[in-house]
């Protein structure tokens, strides 16, 4: 009989976290099972609005880290990571990363009360979808890679430029855009209902994560936060986003490990469960080892963000690399160990594998983060 897997979520969590986890887990199982995820693989919005709204109204997922005065619960990375992990476990396709992890963090860190008042309550109650247009430069993102320019005219800002791969751009009400002006880079808010903002959805490999191409042609904008604060705001939001993404990866890896271990126990070939063959057994042991080590890296990054520790950059890069590779390796092994059925459209494995593939690129590849680490170590 299997003992409780050390990776089992919630094993050593304080009660309030465990309650959040189990409530969310149950709700996702009933409101957003895989059948619902599949219905939205090619729907225009890409996710189920009613499930998204219920997450906000019944559990308060979107407002977990939003301050109480703006309608949130005032929690931190710990709670966001629990939510991220359960959403990843169930492959939830809503705009959690873009709206909750990246945008809400950036807005809160800007200390711009007008922006906070205007945007955070809507994020917390699930009515507003907001995304951050991270300037991509191939293997990672960098505020300095932005090509959007901002122009002020009589106290009004307009933005012009083109942005690729805007996460959840197809559904965002508001896009936060880093743009250059006066020799600096600041973050601006652009509303997508303006005719000066053209959003063209693209087809993504991972259909649970959508991207859009955004063209801005003298689009009206409001600056958020102090002039020239984009680098710091993006770094803060990027750290929270990366750790939340690592949690998503943890959840997906956990799910694929469970599904594959179940299959190995019940699939018979040569008159034996395939899990009794060492070639299969050892591959599963490696999946377990990867998942266990990923959990240790994730926990440490959560700690570093919540304590705003001096090693936060290192801890975030470590979690990004370890969790990216764990999820990818586990999902790839899940396909292999399932054999032919694992390669079919009807099986879950490809959905997780594609999400694992997207997750490892989304906020910087493992190779990109390894270079950052090498720099931090002085190598």
């Amino acid at each position: 009989m299997a003992s409780s897997p050390p990776t089992a979520a919630g094993v050593d969590e304080p009660d309030e976290l465990r309650d959040l986890r189990s409530t969310l887990h149950r709700m996702l199982a009933s409101t957003a099972p895989e059948s619902v995820v599949r219905e939205h693989l090619d729907s225009p919005e890409g996710f189920d609005r009613s499930a998204w709204t219920r997450l906000a109204t019944e559990i308060g997922v979107q407002g977990l880290a939003v301050a109480e005065e703006y309608g949130g619960a005032g929690c931190g990375m710990r709670e966001l990571a629990v939510a991220g992990e359960e959403l990843g476990y169930s492959l939830f396709p809503g705009p959690f990363l873009s709206t909750v992890l990246l945008s809400a963090t950036l807005i809160a860190r800007s200390r711009d009360t007008a922006a906070m008042r205007a945007l955070l309550p809507g994020i917390a109650d699930g009515s507003l979808v907001c995304t951050l247009a991270l300037p991509q430069h191939g293997a990672g993102w960098d505020a300095d890679a932005t090509t959007v320019t901002a122009v002020a005219d009589a106290g009004t800002w307009t933005l012009t430029g083109t942005i690729d791969h805007v996460l959840d751009g197809q559904v965002a009400d508001v896009i936060l855009v880093p743009a250059r002006h006066d020799g600096m880079i600041s973050v601006f808010r652009v509303d997508t209902n303006s005719p000066a903002v053209e959003v063209r959805p693209t087809l993504s490999m991972d259909q649970t994560r959508r991207f859009a191409h955004v063209d801005l042609t003298s689009a009206s904008a409001l600056r958020i936060g102090a002039p020239g604060s984009a680098r710091q705001l993006l770094a803060d939001a990027g750290a929270v986003g990366s750790v939340g993404l690592a949690a998503d990866q943890m959840g997906g890896a956990r799910r694929m490990l469970e599904v594959t271990a179940d299959y190995a126990r019940t699939r018979y070939q040569f008159g034996r469960p395939i899990g009794s063959f060492q070639a299969v057994k050892h591959a599963l042991a490696n999946m377990l080892i990867s998942t266990e080590l990923a959990r240790a890296a994730l926990d440490d990054a959560v700690r570093a963000v919540d304590e705003n520790a001096s090693d936060v950059g290192t801890a975030v890069s470590v979690a990004n690399i370890v969790c990216s590779e764990a999820y990818y390796d586990v999902a790839a092994a899940a396909i292999q160990l399932h054999g032919g059925i694992g390669f079919t459209w009807e099986h879950s494995a490809h959905l997780y594998f594609k999400r694992a593939t997207a997750d490892r690129v989304l906020l910087g590849t493992p190779a990109h983060h390894a270079q950052r680490l090498a720099g931090a170590l002085g190598l």
């Binding site: 050593d12 377990l288 170590l377």
Partner: protein
């Protein structure tokens, strides 16, 4: 006063009443035992105070700082593996006798593995035959660390070959001064002899040195081995090639991008394994669990890959070696004194074999944690005497 404060106060009193500088080693250790400070988690009268296992670390810190002996280091196997087995399986008389002996400095070694029984430990062939007052034992043991400097051996022997292999074993605590015990150094890949072979020829063991019931030796051996794996896990976290590789890298890498990537990857793996070990320690219930297998596999691979990187950083100096002469001290302490990277490189090849191979660790993880079915065991219910061996 908290329990930890009490342990600290008792340790200070021990050091005051028996200053290590003016007290004989045995006398000091006996006083430590009587004060319940040898294994604080043991019951009173058995070298402990019925306290928390964690408090022992503080005792050793204070003792080491005061220059007193540290059994955890000096008689590692007796202290960390023998004592828990005796406490679990020994009679009252045996507990008193063996625990006091260990506590006053007796060193023990482990006589489990045999040439024909490595991963399949239950296949051991050393025979113990009952006679008047005890047992007559004949066989060959191997991979015995510190045999020549030990007084007693934890011995697993076959007492009933007609039973299936796990069931016919009995556990003894053999006095190594008994006639018929012969210890030969076993030279290894590094040139040194950290281990010995132990030959047993018609060795008499009194029945009072049997630990646990006749034919229940497998269970007794399991409690010894669980403590061994735990010891390996903690040992592995202290050493490792990352620091050495970093030093060599800074000295020699010269901007090679491939070496830079390998270096950062090595650092990363070591860092995450340390995070994992620290996390496991925080959640520890006292009994080593399957998560120690994750650490065991991780550190074994880290060490092998890490010393490989060290060698690549050494370049053509990797063609040479410091010395193949065996070192006397190595056999005594069970650890090589030389920290030459080339020697450590060779030594690391054993990390994925000793203390349970990586393959066996993966079986444990898959079967005990993930609940996968065990390999079919063709020998499980057959009498040992009918098994094919070799």
């Amino acid at each position: 006063m908290s329990a930890a404060d009490q342990v600290e106060r008792l340790t200070h009193r021990l050091l005051e009443q028996h200053p290590p500088q003016t007290t004989g080693r045995t006398a000091f250790l006996a006083a430590q035992y009587d004060a319940g400070l040898t294994w604080v988690h043991h019951p009173a009268g058995r070298g402990g105070l019925g306290g928390e296992r964690d408090a022992q670390r503080r005792v050793f810190e204070l003792l080491t700082a005061a220059g007193a002996p540290n059994l955890q280091v000096e008689s590692r196997l007796a202290y960390s593996m023998g004592a828990p087995s005796v406490l679990e399986w020994g009679s009252g008389e045996q507990q008193e006798r063996y625990l006091r002996a260990i506590a006053t400095g007796e060193r023990w070694c482990q006589l489990f593995s045999e040439p024909g029984a490595g991963s399949d430990l239950a296949a051991i062939d050393t025979r113990a035959v009952r006679e008047q007052g005890g047992w007559r034992v004949t066989g060959q043991k191997v991979w015995t660390s510190m045999a020549a400097s030990s007084q007693r051996g934890m011995l697993l022997a076959r007492t009933d070959p007609a039973q299936p292999k796990h069931r016919g074993l009995t556990y003894f605590l053999l006095d190594l001064a008994t006639p018929g015990v012969e210890i030969r150094p076993l030279r290894q890949i590094t040139g040194e002899a950290e281990f010995s072979e132990v030959y047993l020829t018609d060795v008499f063991i009194p029945d009072t040195d049997r630990l646990g019931p006749v034919n229940a030796g497998w269970k007794v051996a399991m409690s010894t081995l669980m403590n061994e794996r735990d010891m390996f896990g903690t040992k592995a976290t202290e050493s490792g090639p990352v620091e050495l590789a970093l030093a060599l890298y800074r000295e020699r890498a010269g901007g090679d991008p491939d070496l830079r990537t390998r270096m950062v990857r090595l650092w990363l793996r070591g860092h995450v394994l340390r995070l994992y070990a620290a996390r496991a320690a925080r959640r520890s219930t006292g009994t080593p669990g399957p998560q120690s297998s994750v650490s065991k596999v991780g550190f074994a691979e880290l060490n092998k890959d890490g010393y490989e990187l060290c060698l690549d950083l050494l370049g053509d100096e990797a063609l040479l070696y410091d010395t193949y002469e065996p070192d006397e001290l190595t056999a005594h302490s069970g650890t090589a004194a030389s920290r030459d990277p080339r020697r450590l490189f060779l030594r690391s090849r054993a990390n994925s074999i000793e203390g349970g191979t990586t393959e066996i660790m993966r079986n444990i993880l898959a079967e005990r944690v993930l609940g996968l079915p065990a390999e079919p065991r063709v020998d499980k219910d057959l009498p040992y005497s009918s098994l094919r061996r070799g």
